[in-house]
C-alpha cells in the first residue's frame, strides 16, 4: 500500500497518552483499550477505535475525569503498536 493510500483511510487505531498512572479497572471504562502504565509517569490507552465518534467519546471521558491529555497518535489497530503518523 502506498503512503497516499494509507493517508486516505480513516485511522483504525489510536494511542492516547494521559498524565498519571491509571488503575487497570479503567480499561473497561475506555472501551477495553489496552492500558499501559509507562515509566515516565504517564499512562497509554491504545487499541482499535472504530471511528471518529468513538474517538471523541474517549476524549470526552478523559476530559470528564480531569486527567490531563498529553498526546493522541494514530496507530495500526491491535496487533502492531508502532505509530505511523503523528496525531
Amino acid at each position: 500500500m502506498s503512503q497516499t493510500a494509507k493517508r486516505q483511510q480513516a485511522p483504525g487505531g489510536y494511542r492516547l497518552r494521559v498524565g498519571g498512572h491509571l488503575d487497570q479497572r479503567w480499561s473497561a471504562w475506555f472501551d477495553d483499550l489496552t492500558l499501559t502504565r509507562e515509566s515516565d509517569g504517564t499512562t497509554s490507552l491504545s487499541g482499535a477505535v472504530t471511528d471518529q465518534a468513538e474517538l471523541h467519546g474517549l476524549l470526552m471521558k478523559i476530559r470528564d475525569l480531569g486527567i490531563t491529555l498529553i498526546s493522541v497518535d494514530v496507530i495500526d489497530p491491535p496487533d502492531k503498536a508502532t505509530p505511523i503518523t503523528s496525531g
Binding site: W26, W29, G66
Partner: protein, 922 residues
C-alpha cells in the same frame, strides 16, 4: 414532563455551610454583575458550581433575581432547551414567555421569534436578572449556537448570562472578549493557592497540618478542590496523617483513583455497597435507592452521606432528591464494573421498574435499555408515545428508535406506527414504508372494506389496546401523507378516504388529518373547490376535537382558497368566524389570531381600503408575532409590502419583501405566491424590468410553458413584466409573448374556477390592447373584468395599474355613464393623486411620506415614531434590535430628509407632517 424533575433542574443549589473565602475570585466575578456573559470554564471537580452559588449569594439584593437551570444531555434539542430556559426565567420574572412557550412545540419552532418576545419582556422588567446555565457542556452544540448567539446579542443591559461548563462553549467568545463584555474564570483561577489550601484543610476541615504538609498536598493535587476534598475525608479521624501524606505524595497513581480508593476503604461495608449500587442513577432519593439496593434505610443513608460531605449534591430544599458529584459517580461506576459486573444489569432493571411505577417513563426506558431489556423498553416506549405526541415531543420518540432493533419493532404494530409518526414529524421518510407494511400485516380484512386488527394473533405484541383500535385509520393516514410527499395525487386521495372510513368513531384527529392531506392534494392539482371542501371537513373535525389553534391555521388556507376564487367576502367571513372562535377562549390569546388580522388586512387592501388594511396590520403587530403561526413574520411583511406599494412607496415595499424572504418558513402548503414573484412585480412597476426578467429566467419561466395552477401567479407575473418591458422600450416580441401567454392563462383560470386570477388576467389583456394602441379592443376584457369584480368590491387590481387604466376606465364611463362602480374606481384614482400634494386641512394623508422630496423608509419611520417617545438612544436601538450605530445612521438620514438637525425639531416636523400624532396612546 414530571414536575418533580423540572423542579430539581431549576433549584438554586444551597450555599455550603463552610466555605473558604476567596476574595481574588470574588473580585474577578464582581465585574460579572454588569457583564453580558460570565463564563466559568474548567474541568470536573474544580468547584464551579460552589463558586457560582457563593457569588450569587454575595451579590443578592432585592432588585436582583436569579434564574437557575441545571442542564442534562437530554436537553440538547432546541425546543426542549429553550422551554427549560424560559421556565427557569419564570422563577425570576413570573409569567415571562407564557405566550411564546407553545410555539416551541410546533414542527419547526421559530426560535428567534420566541426569543424576541421573551427579550422584549426582559427589557421591561425592573430587576437585574442573572440567568445561570449550569453544566452547559452537556447541551453545547451547533443546534443551539444560533439561538444562544441571538440571545447574547440582544440581552438587555440589566440581564446577565452566566454559563458554567467543562468546555469552552460554541459562542462568539473572542468577539465578546474584545468588546469587554465577557468575564472569565478558568481552571488556573479556580485552583486553590497554598494559602487557600491551608485555610480549607486547617480552618474549615479542622485538621492540624504543618506548612510543609500543605505544600506537599498543594503540589500533589495542584489545587484541584475535588482531590483536596477526598484527601480531607481520608485524613479526618486518621491518627497517622503524616504517613498518609507521605504515601499520597510518593504515589504515581491518578490521584482520584488513589483517593477514592482510600475513601471507599474507610467506609463500612454497608455504605460501600450502597455507593456502588446507586452510582448508576442520575438522581437519587430514599425510595429509589431502597428499590435498587434491595435494602431499606436509603433515605437515612443519603442524609448521612450528605452530612459527611461525601459528594452528594442536594437537588431541592426538602432534601428528597440528590445526585452524586459527576466525578465521584464516574469513579464508582468504574469500581462497580470492576468488582461486581454481574450486578449491573439487575441494578438497571430495578431502577427501571421503580421509575415505571412512579410515572416517569423516560428514565424507566433509559434504564431498561441499559439493562438490555429491549422488550420491556419497547413496552414502555409504546405506552409513553401518546403523551409525548400530545406535547409534540416527537424528537424524544425518534431518539428511542435507535435503541430498539428492527426485529422487535416488527412484532409491535402500535410501536411501529408510533415510530413512523416520529420519523415523519422530523421529515425522515426512509424506512417509513417498510414499517407501515409491517404494521399492516397484523390487520385482518374485516366485513365490508374495512380492516380489523387481529385479535391477539401469534407473535403480535401490543401494550396499548386503545391505540391498537385506532390503527386502521392511522395507518391509512400515513400512507396518504407518504403519497402526498411522493407527489402521487390519486393515491393520496384514495388513502385519505380510507383513513376517514376506517378511523375509529371518536377519532376526529385522524379524520381531520386525513381531510387536510386530501385538501393539500387537491390544492396542489388546482381543484380549489374540492380543496376547500376537504379543509372545511378538517376544520369541523378539529373543532370537535378541541384543537382550536389548528382551526385558525386552517382558516388561513380556507380564506386563501376563497381569495383565489375571487370570493373576497367569503374569505373575510372565514377570518371573522375564526376570530369569534378565538374570542371565546379566555385567559390567553389563541395562537393564529395575529394571522387572522393579516388576512383581513389583505382583503381590505384589495378593496382599496388602505386605512383599514393598515389598522389590521397594526393590530396584528400589537398582538405580537408569537400569537401567530410560525409563518406570521413572513406573512405580515408581505401584507405590509402590499400596503406600501399601494401608497406608492415601491422602495419601501421592496425592503419589506426582502425582509419577508429572509424570515420565510415553508410549511406543507405549496408556495403559490413566492416572494421572488412578488418582488418581480414591484421591480416591473419601478421600470426595472430587466431585473424582473432575470428572475423569470432563473425560474425557467417562459410564455410557452405548460400551465399549472401552482405556477399561475408566477406566469401572470411574467406577463406583467413583459408588458412593462414593451411600455418601456417598445419591444414587440415581448408584447406578443405577453398576449399569447395571457390568452392561454385565461381559459385555464376560468376552468379552475379561479375568478381572482381571471380578473387580473383580463385586466392585463385589456392593457396589452391599449398599449398597442387599440382602445376599442381593450374595452372588451376590461368590461368583463369589471363585471366579475364589482360584486366583491375589487379596487386595487384596477387602480394599481395607474394612468393607462385610468384612461381606459374613463372610456368605459363615456359609454356607460350610469356605472357607479367605475365612477368609484375613478374617484379612487383621484385619492391617489391627492396624496401626492401637500395636505390642506392638516389631516394626515394616507402616506405623508410621499410629500417629502425623499420619502422615509419603513425602518426610518419606526425610528421616528420612537424618537417621539421618552426613550433614549440605546433603548430605541434595543427596541428595534439594532446596534446603537445603526440607529444613529437612521437618525442622521431622518434628520436630513426632514430638513432638521435636532431630535426635538424632528419630532415637531413629524407631527406637522402627520407621521406621528400629537398624543399617542400605544
Amino acid at each position: 414532563m414530571a414536575t418533580s424533575l423540572v423542579q430539581t433542574k431549576l433549584y438554586v443549589p444551597r450555599l455550603r455551610r463552610s466555605l473558604v473565602a476567596r476574595p481574588r475570585l470574588s473580585g474577578r466575578l464582581s465585574r460579572g454583575s454588569d457583564a453580558r456573559l460570565t463564563l466559568i470554564s474548567a474541568p470536573a471537580g474544580f468547584g464551579k458550581t460552589t463558586l457560582l452559588t457563593a457569588w450569587l449569594a454575595a451579590i443578592a439584593t432585592e432588585n436582583r433575581s436569579v434564574a437557575w437551570l441545571s442542564l442534562d444531555e437530554s436537553d440538547r434539542q432546541p425546543a426542549t432547551f429553550w422551554t427549560y430556559v424560559i421556565t427557569a426565567l419564570q422563577a425570576a420574572v413570573p409569567g415571562i414567555g407564557a405566550d411564546a412557550l407553545p410555539l416551541l412545540q410546533s414542527a419547526q419552532p421559530p426560535i428567534e421569534t420566541v426569543l424576541a418576545a421573551v427579550l422584549n419582556e426582559l427589557a421591561a422588567t425592573p430587576n437585574d436578572v442573572d440567568l445561570v446555565l449550569d453544566d452547559y457542556h452537556l447541551v453545547d452544540g451547533p443546534d443551539l449556537r444560533d439561538g444562544m448567539t441571538f440571545l447574547l446579542e440582544h440581552l438587555p443591559p440589566h440581564v446577565h448570562l452566566v454559563i458554567s461548563s467543562r468546555v469552552d462553549p460554541l459562542l462568539p467568545l473572542a468577539r465578546l472578549r474584545a468588546r469587554g463584555e465577557l468575564v472569565e474564570v478558568r481552571a488556573a483561577d479556580l485552583r486553590f493557592t497554598p494559602d487557600e489550601v491551608a485555610t480549607y484543610l486547617n480552618d474549615v476541615i479542622g485538621l492540624d497540618l504543618t506548612p510543609d504538609d500543605i505544600v506537599t498536598l498543594e503540589g500533589r493535587t495542584e489545587g484541584w478542590i475535588a482531590a483536596l476534598q477526598l484527601a480531607a475525608i481520608s485524613m479526618q479521624g486518621r491518627t497517622d496523617i503524616g504517613g498518609f501524606i507521605a504515601g499520597f505524595a510518593g504515589d504515581d497513581r491518578y490521584i482520584v483513583d488513589y483517593l477514592v480508593e482510600e475513601v471507599l476503604a474507610r467506609q463500612t461495608e454497608q455504605v460501600r455497597t450502597f455507593l456502588l449500587r446507586t452510582c448508576l442513577l442520575d438522581r437519587l432519593n430514599g425510595p429509589l435507592c431502597d428499590a435498587v439496593t434491595g435494602e431499606p434505610g436509603g433515605r437515612a443513608t443519603l442524609e448521612a452521606l450528605d452530612r459527611a460531605n461525601l459528594f452528594l449534591v442536594p437537588l431541592d430544599d426538602s432534601r428528597h432528591w440528590y445526585r452524586y458529584h459527576h466525578l465521584f459517580a464516574d469513579m464508582l461506576q468504574a469500581h462497580l464494573g470492576d468488582e461486581r459486573p454481574d450486578e449491573v444489569t439487575d441494578l438497571h432493571r430495578r431502577a427501571s421498574r421503580w421509575y415505571d411505577h412512579n410515572g416517569q417513563p423516560a428514565p424507566a426506558i433509559r434504564h431498561a435499555v441499559a439493562a438490555g431489556d429491549i422488550e420491556r423498553a419497547a413496552d414502555l416506549i409504546e405506552l409513553a408515545i401518546p403523551e409525548l405526541q400530545r406535547n409534540r415531543q416527537e424528537a424524544t420518540i425518534r431518539g428511542w428508535l435507535d435503541a430498539v432493533p428492527y426485529e422487535v419493532v416488527r412484532m409491535r404494530p402500535v410501536l411501529a406506527v408510533g415510530f413512523v409518526a416520529a420519523l415523519m414529524a422530523g421529515n425522515e421518510f426512509e424506512g417509513v414504508e417498510a414499517r407501515l407494511r409491517d404494521a399492516e400485516r397484523w390487520l385482518e380484512p374485516a366485513v365490508g372494506d374495512g380492516k380489523e386488527p387481529h385479535a391477539r394473533s401469534e407473535g403480535m405484541v401490543v401494550v396499548d389496546e386503545r391505540e391498537l383500535s385506532r390503527l386502521p385509520g392511522v395507518i391509512e393516514m400515513y400512507w396518504a401523507a407518504l403519497a402526498l410527499v411522493g407527489g402521487d395525487v390519486p393515491a393520496t386521495l384514495r388513502h385519505a378516504q380510507l383513513a376517514i372510513d376506517r378511523a375509529d368513531d371518536e377519532d376526529d384527529v385522524t379524520r381531520a388529518g386525513a381531510s387536510a392531506i386530501s385538501g393539500l392534494a387537491f390544492w396542489g392539482s388546482g381543484d380549489l373547490e374540492a380543496a376547500h371542501r376537504a379543509y372545511s371537513s378538517c376544520v369541523e373535525r378539529l373543532q370537535r376535537a378541541g384543537h382550536l389553534s389548528d382551526v385558525l391555521g386552517c382558516s388561513i388556507t380556507l380564506a386563501d382558497i376563497r381569495t383565489t376564487q375571487g370570493r373576497l367576502s367569503d374569505a373575510r367571513r372565514t377570518f371573522e368566524r375564526a376570530l369569534q372562535l378565538a374570542a371565546e377562549v379566555t385567559g390567553t390569546v389563541l395562537r393564529g389570531t395575529a394571522d387572522m388580522y393579516v388576512g383581513m388586512s389583505q382583503i381590505a387592501g384589495e378593496r382599496g381600503d388602505l386605512h383599514t388594511a393598515t389598522q389590521h396590520l397594526a393590530r396584528s403587530q400589537e398582538l405580537g408575532e408569537h400569537t401567530g403561526m410560525p409563518q406570521n413574520p413572513y406573512r405580515w411583511r408581505v401584507a405590509m409590502a402590499r400596503v406600501r406599494e399601494s401608497q406608492g412607496d415601491l422602495a419601501g415595499a421592496l425592503t419589506l419583501l426582502d425582509d419577508a424572504q429572509r424570515v420565510y418558513l415553508g410549511d406543507f402548503l405549496p408556495n403559490v405566491r413566492p416572494v421572488p414573484a412578488l418582488r418581480a412585480r414591484v421591480l416591473a412597476a419601478q421600470g426595472r424590468w430587466r431585473e424582473a426578467l432575470d428572475w423569470a429566467r432563473e425560474q425557467g419561466l417562459s410564455a410557452d410553458d405548460t400551465l399549472t395552477y401552482v405556477r399561475e401567479f408566477a406566469h401572470i407575473t411574467l406577463a406583467k413584466v413583459l408588458l412593462a418591458r414593451y411600455a418601456s422600450d417598445g419591444d414587440k416580441s415581448s408584447l406578443n409573448d405577453a398576449s399569447r401567454l395571457l390568452a392561454r392563462l385565461r381559459p385555464a383560470a376560468v376552468a379552475g374556477g379561479r375568478a381572482g386570477s381571471v380578473i387580473e388576467i383580463l385586466v392585463l389583456e385589456s392593457l396589452t390592447h391599449q398599449v398597442g394602441g387599440d382602445i376599442p379592443r381593450a374595452l372588451g376584457p376590461l368590461v368583463e373584468a369589471l363585471t366579475l369584480a364589482e360584486p366583491e368590491g375589487y379596487v386595487r387590481v384596477f387602480v394599481g395599474e395607474g394612468p393607462p387604466m385610468k384612461s381606459l376606465l374613463k372610456a368605459v364611463i363615456s359609454r356607460q355613464a350610469g356605472w357607479d362602480y367605475v365612477r368609484r374606481l375613478l374617484a379612487a384614482f383621484a385619492d391617489d393623486d391627492r396624496t401626492a400634494q401637500t395636505a390642506t386641512l392638516g389631516e394626515p394623508a394616507t402616506n405623508p411620506s410621499r410629500r417629502l422630496v425623499e420619502p422615509l423608509s419603513e425602518r426610518e419611520l419606526d425610528v421616528l415614531r420612537l424618537l417621539a417617545t421618552d426613550l433614549d438612544g440605546p433603548d430605541i436601538a434595543r427596541q428595534l434590535f439594532v446596534s446603537v450605530n445603526t440607529m444613529r445612521t437612521h437618525t442622521r438620514s431622518i434628520y436630513a430628509k426632514l430638513g432638521v438637525n435636532s431630535r426635538r425639531a424632528a419630532v415637531s416636523r413629524a407631527e406637522e407632517l402627520g407621521f406621528v400624532s400629537r398624543s399617542r396612546d400605544r
